[in-house]
Symmetry: C2
Subunit: 425 residues, 2 copies
């Protein structure tokens, strides 16, 4: 193609693009080729009622009154990128400011998500077989979770729980719903005072602290994010729970000992498809064969599908959101575990993300000052895109409760967890 | 092997064998070979504390005080059969009386089940790919379900529910627990008055009648057992529910129309591994895309494994008990469905079967008079063996609730089904 392509906008140029002070080149008229290409893209996304608009204001969408919002494409390079690799380029261009969304961000992303189809390309299949080595896992986790506790404190709930909350009723605040989630996990596991619990991927320690405080158990909680661990240890000491919780800097694959209960909330997504079987090894080794039980809480799928490539590049390198069938086949069956109970909390995650987005919007300027505009826009899109993914059923949130095959389930019926919360809501 | 093998006992000889009046040949002394072989079998089942005994009273088990019971092998042919193909020959020999169990049957079978390992042989894999054609399905169903309503009326609950009951509390009777199961299914599906429900494999119609009576829905219920259908139609007419239920003589693959809810209790085991995808076609066609939901209640496994070969030969030809992963992969994913909730009621089935066995024992003589001794012994073993399979975790009972991908789940949390039973227990 001989059409000259506009050079990339450097971060320093974002402010100009976003705030109207655009370089002279960006207001030049779109050519016939540009109009043809944007019309083609508009047809592909037709049911979405999202209006595409070119840098000169032209648009193939003739009914802007019904559109939930507009996507403004600022240059030809972005337009071509969107045509060639929309899943990656939408995020890249939004982040760099070469693409703008006019109107509320989440509904636009949700509308676009609804017209997408999950698929697994040849390239995805190859990429997914690449192992997350111990070193790679540390690097991946460090990149996301060690952004600084201060960053997460700006917009998470007060206990820093960075996983799907459980809105036991629809009026709950984010803080209440996170506590309700911690408690739901404990009740599903039927924790009893004095029992030993292993938690892998403990984040800032909120679940470990909740289990130790309200259920009287001894917790061994591991994580490979130093920032999170030091926060968790400080909190345990401050709250007088240090004698009941051991926070250890260890990869889940290296954990030793045998426990009454195993729990992992929001870690399975990070182990990668290739390593679901290494989780099986851990379960087989660590769960007491008679009377032990485990719970996995993770973002999953209905059909095997890699994460959006932009999310993999910018937010969660090495992550994979597995299906129930994949977890059952590669983790639970080889570990000798029986599925007792599965719950899908997809819409609870959509609501959690809506709450996070609301709170993030309030601190947007502070994030921009500390981390730069690209970072702030990337996170804004990541939160909105994730909310859209759960709202549309593109992604699921599963809690799976399991026990060693042939052992007694922790309860005769599962009704109790919903009747007797240990913690007042 | 040159040892002469005793000819097969014909059914007419069973009484002699069972009641001590054995043919003279059977009391001849066991040879060194027999004692070597039975000692070998005893070692294999060692952890089971089940005593093996030969026809002359000799046994390699030296601690009969701790044994839960004895398996008495009446002839060499049975001994060799057990060594070569235990899974099939145990049932065949028990049924024909060539093998006897002294002591309570279920604990012995349970102990033997615990020391078995589920496995899928080469031959199993081939067999499982054989399709259940429409004709074969009718033949398979006819063989089991058309034994005569009178037969099932002898020992099932009063509404003739021939699937796992739900003991909402441990004191429930079988009758109460079957009603509780019907109601649990309705509440999981959140049925509303006026809705249209499709039920495939409706048995004697108990669930269809319960849904129509207590939830005010219109039910289309299909089955391919003429005896069951005529019973169900009569009951609907007698109870004044005929205008709300249509019982149709149709294979699940041929059902048409679109419904608010789909439900199938105890049918998926009969479709065969090869036909899990044909269930997907039905779900995709019949469940309303927006707001529809479905429930599959079926006997399943933790790992892929064929049914016991004796059960396949004598009780359920063409049946296969799938794993959650198989149902998710071959039925729900291709149907475009999202898993909302899974519950494993394994121990409830063990209890249901214990209740069935108790009731069966009370009518044993009548069954023997009407259907013969082989039949009665086969059913006695089938019930005890199934109870053992659920008690040991060899088999599972799954209820899977699902919805079309991206549509709204029937409820915000799942707590309600346990709090507000529509029917007094």
């Amino acid at each position: 193609m001989s059409t000259p392509i506009r050079p990339s906008i450097e971060p320093s140029g974002i402010a100009q693009v976003l705030h109207g002070d655009r370089p002279a080149t960006s207001v030049r008229r779109a050519r016939a080729f540009d109009r043809w290409l944007v019309a083609h893209l508009q047809r592909i996304i037709t049911p979405a009622a999202v209006r595409l608009e070119l840098w000169d204001g032209s648009s193939p969408y003739d009914n802007s009154a019904t559109a939930v919002g507009s996507v403004v494409i600022h240059d030809r390079r972005t337009l071509i990128g969107l045509a060639l690799h929309p899943d990656l380029q939408f995020g890249e261009s939004y982040m760099s400011g070469r693409l703008e969304v006019r109107g509320p961000l989440e509904p636009v992303v949700e509308a676009l998500t609804r017209v997408s189809q999950p698929h697994m390309s040849w390239c995805d299949r190859v990429t997914l077989t690449l192992p997350n080595t111990l070193t790679a896992s540390r690097r991946n986790v460090h990149g996301h979770y060690d952004l600084g506790n201060d960053f997460y404190r700006l917009w998470l709930d007060r206990h820093l729980v960075y996983t799907c909350a459980y809105y036991a009723n629809e009026q709950m605040s984010l803080d209440e719903a996170q506590i309700a989630k911690l408690d739901l996990v404990c009740r599903k596991l039927r924790l009893c005072p004095g029992e030993r619990v292993l938690e892998t991927g403990c984040g800032w320690g909120a679940l470990a602290l909740h289990m130790a405080r309200h259920y009287g158990v001894h917790v061994r909680a591991c994580n490979i994010s130093p920032e999170q661990l030091s926060f968790a240890r400080e909190r345990a000491a401050r709250e007088g729970l240090a004698d009941r919780i051991e926070f250890i800097d260890e990869d889940y694959r290296n954990v030793t000992g045998q426990y009454d209960a195993f729990v992992s909330v929001g870690m399975l997504e990070h182990v990668g498809l290739h390593h679901l079987e290494s989780v099986a090894d851990v379960l087989r080794r660590t769960i007491r064969p008679d009377g032990g039980r485990g719970l996995l809480h993770f973002i999953g799928r209905d059909v095997p599908c890699p994460l959006n490539p932009w999310i993999r590049r910018r937010i969660f390198p090495g992550a994979y959101t597995p299906t129930v069938a994949e977890v059952a086949t590669h983790t639970l069956a080889p570990a000798g575990m029986s599925i007792i109970d599965i719950e899908n909390l997809r819409l609870h995650y959509a609501r959690t993300l809506a709450h996070w987005s609301e709170r993030f919007a309030l601190v947007k300027d502070r994030v921009r000052q500390s981390y730069g505009e690209e970072f702030e826009r990337a996170w804004e899109l990541y939160l909105a895109g994730s909310q859209a993914a759960f709202a549309t059923g593109w992604m699921q949130l599963f809690q799976i409760l399991f026990i060693p095959r042939g052992s007694a389930p922790p309860s005769w019926t599962r009704s109790d967890p919903y009747e007797t919360p240990r913690v007042a809501r």
